[in-house]
Symmetry: none
Amino acid sequence: MENEKETKKKLLECAMKEFSEKGYMKASLRNICKEAGVTTGALYFFFKDKEDLFGNLVAETLYGLDTIIENHFIEETTATKALAGGDMSVAALAAAQGFDDDMEIARGVIRYLFKHKEIIDLLLTKSQGSCYENLPDQMVSKVEEHYTSMYVAMKGYKSKRKLTKEDKFIIHWMSHDQIDIFIHIATHCKNVNEGEKQMKNMMAYMIGGWYGVINNKY
Amino acid sequence: MENEKETKKKLLECAMKEFSEKGYMKASLRNICKEAGVTTGALYFFFKDKEDLFGNLVAETLYGLDTIIENHFIEETTATKALAGGDMSVAALAAAQGFDDDMEIARGVIRYLFKHKEIIDLLLTKSQGSCYENLPDQMVSKVEEHYTSMYVAMKGYKSKRKLTKEDKFIIHWMSHDQIDIFIHIATHCKNVNEGEKQMKNMMAYMIGGWYGVINNKY
Amino acid sequence: MENEKETKKKLLECAMKEFSEKGYMKASLRNICKEAGVTTGALYFFFKDKEDLFGNLVAETLYGLDTIIENHFIEETTATKALAGGDMSVAALAAAQGFDDDMEIARGVIRYLFKHKEIIDLLLTKSQGSCYENLPDQMVSKVEEHYTSMYVAMKGYKSKRKLTKEDKFIIHWMSHDQIDIFIHIATHCKNVNEGEKQMKNMMAYMIGGWYGVINNKY
Amino acid sequence: MENEKETKKKLLECAMKEFSEKGYMKASLRNICKEAGVTTGALYFFFKDKEDLFGNLVAETLYGLDTIIENHFIEETTATKALAGGDMSVAALAAAQGFDDDMEIARGVIRYLFKHKEIIDLLLTKSQGSCYENLPDQMVSKVEEHYTSMYVAMKGYKSKRKLTKEDKFIIHWMSHDQIDIFIHIATHCKNVNEGEKQMKNMMAYMIGGWYGVINNKY
DNA sequence: GATGAATGAGTGTTCATTCAT
DNA sequence: AATGAATGAACACTCATTCAT
């Protein structure tokens, strides 16, 4: 019963190695099978095709990440909405609170990233050619809504309708940058401790950036 | 003599199209030649191999970009070094000056990016699999040295030797982010005017970020 | 005991569908099993191989058809033989009688074809690649002997020895055409009523053809 | 210059052999190449894909056959149309004339078939799976229109509108049978002389059949 | 009776590259 | 300067079949 699943496991391990070394497109199913000591037919018993094999490697981790980001940022969103319409100083205070919360969320994200570091690396840097190649963009989209609300609150706008093209652009950029911080940590720090440590400076950078934008007169 | 160069030109045009549509890896030399109305042999008369063809497309633009970044940021570097050892307020003042200069440089970079938008897009989003796939990283390296000096000055350190691992990490991140701003503008704005406009907010974000980092106590 | 046979039944149903849709060669045993909700191993418990599976689908129907044709046409044969040696007009008369009998047989065949229409379609149009691909030819052979006797009688020959190469050729053709009439009806009429109706004209055509041949002077 | 085309020729020869032996579907491009002493890449230099290779074998012959059938039968059609509305005996006479003409056409077709016997065999018996698998049906369609006109004339109908479902069915059958005569000759006679000889009986059969149908009272 | 696993040979097709002419 | 021809290795994928359990 145990060694029945050995082959699938072996296949996944070798696939992990091959994809990590060569990226999705250049990875060879033949190589994976050879390495695993089985014929290509065996691979197709367990997996529908190349994409499915890659999917089996990353799906679970991806789903968990999605859940974390979606849940947290969406809860935040509703909380932050209450700020809209308040006076600037209150908003600023609340925003500071918002950042503290974000910090907490970020810590959670980072812990998750490091818990699944290899898969995350695969997704972030080796998925080109697969259906997962736009993962960062998708995550950015999820953060963007949350940040739009925060931005509206901090600017003291009464509704999202007030947002100019420039507002939207910088919100998108900051969302992108937030995701990029996670990616940067995941790909540049060797463990979760270092990740959490470096994150403090990065969050300081980001918060400073937000204030720079909010107070920008140009 | 004229139609000799015609073929090379045609080949480059068709290569541009193919690489832009499919990316470096999925681009087919066959297709390029078919489109250009010549045989593959012709291509190999003008270009050593696939990489060389891609290189011919991007080399000039790349060299120009390198030059801009290298020249400007390196000149800056020497100027900023004078600050080392000064008191904090002077440093801050000087840093502000530094940012103004950076703004000017950034404007130049952006103008350059849009002047060669298609090639830049190719380099930034379609070069995976070629030797240019790490271009952003290389550019980051060039900015990094300049930023290290600025950082040292703003922190009031007496020499680079004082830099901790955390300092180096955040400097790398901010360098990366600077390059990312350029990339973001190049890939998200439709013309140079919009690019320059959006850049103002982004620079405000970046400068705010720097201050956030410099003043960070954690 | 009951659901044991359920699986075999299910397999046969799904095989029917797959073979009908794709033809013998392109049909995939994998697909059949997937559709039936069992593994390929199960299929190989019930059937020796692909050919055997196809055989199980068509064998009974095929055997019935064989029997009908063989019995009837062979009975006819002995009856018709009595004509040999008689004078022409008697032979013609007898031949007319023969055609009436043939009409009756044909009606029986057609009824049988429509009773097993789906299997017949399978055999006639989807069996290429299997050992049944020459079914029409085999049926032709069976009719041929009967027609040879009829031909000998109508021509007023004293024995089969008189048959020239041309005689044999046209007998083969007419046998082939007789089978083709059945096939045409089976594949072009939507039910037995229409089949029987159209058959009248077709038999008129065939009988006219026979007279054309018998009286042909060239 | 001469042995440049040797490879393509060799490839076509070997393809001819492979397709003839195994049929379109079971033919292996690898085998063809191995037999021709070249790599598969070479094949793909000359031919787009399997279908194109097969097409190169048969296209010319097919086009010629199309032309013969289309030209002749369509010329006939207009000639025969003049009969519509005339009295029966005249129509019958004219029909007899029509059959004489058809005989002449048929002789032309048969000569063509034997001139390209191997290709014709390929098309008729080995093309399943390719885009040519329905060739006989297409040819039947072309004959059908001509026969409809003849039928209308012989029946003494004033227009095609009078045709019942039964009329149409038997016309289709007779068209089918006409094509089948050609196919039968092409696949059962070993040379054009034998073909032309056997055709006489077959045409007698067919003409007899037509009269049988036209005079049929049921 | 049936599964789950695996084989091994095969499929058509595409690729960048080479080279004599 | 360019062609036409060819290579050879690689690709993802499918197949009917087998067999221990």
